[in-house]
Symmetry: C2
């Protein structure tokens, strides 16, 4: 369990490193400060001394990992600004999947965000403000472009945009939140770690879905 060999030699930094792994892997509630401290090679009291309490450490991890995530996985993944809405959506989905299914420090934040969505803690408000709402607004702007192409914006348009955003995010989150069941149901040929394959499917499925809504009307 012990894992003293970390780069940072200050306890505070080692605690954040260890806590990031444990929180991302077990979630805030199931994570124990004893396991975190054990991994960081620190005493149990260290969390309360450096971060006031368990939640203080959690907030510190959220802030630390948010920086790492936005640095490595910007929502537009460095796409040029004149890209088409279709390209933007494809890139958003790819980036989002990398954030929640990837490995290592930059993927901590996506997993923590996904866990906040499925099982919120007292920090949900913070996460919504700092991460979820900005991402949602960006996705909504892409969807707005895709939906009203040529057409005038109706009043019900906002609900359609919102429902499309939930459809896309829901598809992505399913591959993290539902990974245990996916492992149980998947055909042998499907590789749950093939992010590009999943991103490609969700993109094509969703672009066609959006076009179908735009075409509007029956069934």
């Amino acid at each position: 369990m012990e894992d003293i060999s970390k780069k940072t030699d200050d306890t505070k930094g080692r605690l954040i490193e260890a806590a990031g792994e444990v929180f991302a892997h077990h979630g805030f509630r199931s994570a124990t400060v004893r396991e975190i401290c054990s991994r960081a090679g620190a005493n149990v009291a260290a969390v309360n001394y450096h971060f006031r309490d368990k939640e203080g450490l959690y907030v510190a991890v959220l802030e630390h990992s948010l920086q790492s995530a936005t640095r490595k996985y910007p929502p537009d993944l460095g796409l040029r600004d004149q890209a088409t809405p279709e390209e933007k959506l494809r890139t958003f989905i790819h980036s989002f999947l990398l954030r929640i299914l990837g490995e290592g420090v930059p993927a901590w934040h996506g997993k923590l965000m996904a866990r906040e969505i499925a099982d919120p803690t007292d920090a949900l408000g913070r996460v919504v403000q700092s991460s979820i709402r900005p991402l949602h607004m960006y996705l909504a702007s892409i969807l707005s472009d895709l939906l009203k192409e040529g057409k005038p914006a109706e009043g019900e348009e906002r609900d359609v945009i919102f429902l499309c955003a939930m459809s896309i995010v829901g598809q992505c989150l399913q591959h993290f939140t539902g990974r245990r069941v996916i492992a149980a149901l998947r055909p042998k040929s499907f590789n749950p770690a093939d992010i590009e394959r999943i991103a490609d499917h969700i993109t094509r499925f969703s672009l066609a879905g959006i076009r179908g809504l735009r075409a509007g009307g029956s069934l």
Copy 2:
């Protein structure tokens, strides 16, 4: 907290009733046997006497609620057998949403199933066998009809069907699993309890998505 006024006068029945509400509302882990017993007007020891342990009670609730759910919300919702695949898909989505977003006893099982997917317990294997896999197979058969219409079945077809199933289920589950964030992000005009509206959106979005995949090819 106390709620002695239940129809059943046998403790075992009252425990299942109370436990269903508490498990569906808080999940297996966060639920406490003390709250369950308090609601059932029973002693704390009653759970261990009648069901061996907390998990035994949980399994009993799963079995009890599965019956209630399949009785009220069959996956085909009493659809005629010659219905088109499109009608079958629409009905499946509607039924699935009623199962997880509805109120009362018949909706317990859907919520418990959704919670098992997002945060599995030791009972996951049971739930997969009894509920999740059958539902998945039924959905996959509908998708198979929709996808290979006219076309020959390729080898990669299984993966496409599986990914489409995850897309549809992921969209539905998002409205239960992510309800807290939906409440925070939704436009005022969107009503999270309007199951018909959500079912209609997911159906149209998904049918168009499937058609888009069938059309195949680029972007």
